[in-house]
């Protein structure tokens, strides 16, 4: 049995039995982890108010060899996410960010880059960065860190610089020049302003990328491009994506 302390971002909190909760959290060194917070549902629990989704915390847990589920010993709040969770859109976005890590981060594998991406995105959102841009930034970088969707500098098929028209083929995980990817039906012609936004996202931090105003049309198309690549990569869509669209449609 070992006792580990680490900075973590809480991804999910789920009730377990009558008294306990299961907490899924992301750490830099140990990747995605799950632990039981004993007594967390009871009124005077030492975890009360600490187990907040998307909060940054300092977490200490016991781990036993060969067991997936650790046991939380203590959780101390470092940065709550309340400001993001005060309105419906913020709550939906938060669930969407967490869903990416729940699906794409690995258990027990160092995940420094995933951690830094989620941490920086939350930090910027808590400082009121544009949420639409933050979501697109996060989607693109999640895919890039997962090894798909490289920056659009040259065409991966022919090696020529991507200066002219650019296409996302129907089952593609990357953008191609129109000569290489333009034939197949169902492909998506990527607009120059979308490409500019994508390059800006690849080059700058989120707060810096947000200093330049972005055309809504570019944000919408980038959302579509990222969603297609994510579906091709995961072979399905994240559950939160459809739910959020259905929720917005009902308002």
């Amino acid at each position: 049995m070992s006792l580990i302390t680490s900075e973590a971002l809480i991804l999910d909190v789920l009730d377990l039995h009558d008294r306990d909760r299961i907490v899924t959290f992301l750490t830099r060194e140990h990747g995605k982890k799950k632990g039981v917070a004993k007594g967390a549902r009871t009124k005077h629990s030492r975890f009360a108010g600490q187990l907040q989704p998307l909060a940054k915390v300092e977490i200490t847990w016991f781990e036993q060899e060969g067991r997936d589920l650790g046991r939380l010993s203590s959780v101390e709040m470092v940065r709550p996410a309340h400001r993001l969770q005060a309105d419906l859109e913020g709550l939906l976005l938060g669930s969407y960010l967490a869903d990416h890590l729940l699906e794409m981060a690995q258990d027990n594998e160092p995940s420094d880059l995933f951690f830094r991406l989620l941490d920086a995105t939350l930090e910027a959102l808590l400082a009121d960065v544009d949420r639409d841009l933050a979501a697109r930034y996060f989607e693109v970088w999640m895919l890039r860190l997962a090894g798909v969707f490289p920056p659009p500098h040259e065409c991966p098929a022919c090696g020529r610089p991507l200066t002219g028209p650019v296409v996302l083929p129907p089952a593609g995980e990357t953008l191609l020049c129109a000569d290489c990817g333009g034939e197949a039906p169902g492909g998506l012609a990527v607009r120059p302003e979308t490409l500019e936004l994508l390059r800006r996202i690849g080059r700058l931090s989120l707060p810096k990328a947000a200093e330049v105003p972005t055309a809504p049309a570019a944000l919408r198309q980038l959302e579509e491009v990222a969603a297609r690549i994510r579906r091709n990569f995961l072979q399905r869509e994240l559950r939160s994506y459809g739910v959020i669209q259905a929720t917005r449609a009902g308002l």
């Binding site: 009730d15 549902r41 009124k43 969770q85 967490a98 959020i244």
Partner: protein, 194 residues
């Protein structure tokens, strides 16, 4: 025919919060109890399934449909309290502060768990709004309950309804099930318009 013990363990392990280890321990315990005790458990399970169901109007668990809250003429029919689960009704009743109707959503909004408004009993709520002046949203004070409350406010307020939320004097991440009736009563009395 499969091994009866393995079958019992398999059935127990399907219950929420019961893993294979606990299921095995429970099954071995049941092997040891007197036949009458095992019979009592089995018939209690069957009776619940035969005699209790969800109220067709509000989704509360009830032996008669509609349930006693929906049919009680003394209750305040201008107010409806929205909760996540049937077992959230009893704590609100215990406060003695509330005398209106109830509506059980059977869940809370949670995108990453795949639970959207279409999975909740929201259309049934919208059909019950005739004569209602105030909708009191008593979902849990956690992110799912909060998202549900904010969604309901967005849907209900344009219909001219007063939508209120319990004023919780407890940390976010709490649970209505685990709130004592004094605190819950105070949260009800101090409910705020959304």
């Amino acid at each position: 025919m499969s091994d009866p013990l393995a079958r019992l363990i398999g059935e127990l392990a399907r219950l929420p919060g019961i893993g294979p280890k606990t299921a095995t321990r429970l099954a071995h315990h049941l092997l040891k109890v007197a036949p009458a005790e095992a019979q009592a458990l089995a018939s209690a399970v069957l009776e619940v399934k035969e005699k209790l169901f969800h109220c067709s109007a509000c989704n509360a668990i009830t032996p008669v449909d509609p349930c006693r809250w929906c049919t009680d003429e003394r209750r305040d029919r201008a107010r409806i309290c929205v909760v996540e689960e049937p077992f959230n009704i009893e704590p609100v009743e215990r406060t003695g502060e509330y005398h209106g109707l109830y509506h059980v959503l059977l869940g809370a909004l949670s995108p990453h768990r795949g639970i959207g408004p279409d999975r909740l009993a929201i259309p049934a709520l919208l059909e019950r709004l005739a004569g209602i002046e105030e909708v009191i949203v008593a979902t849990n004070p956690n992110v799912e309950g909060e998202a549900t409350a904010l969604y309901l406010a967005r849907v209900l307020k344009p219909r001219g309804l007063k939508v209120t939320r319990l004023a919780f004097g407890m940390p976010v991440g709490g649970d209505i099930e685990y709130t004592d009736e004094v605190t819950l009563g105070r949260s009800l009395a101090g409910r705020r318009e959304m």
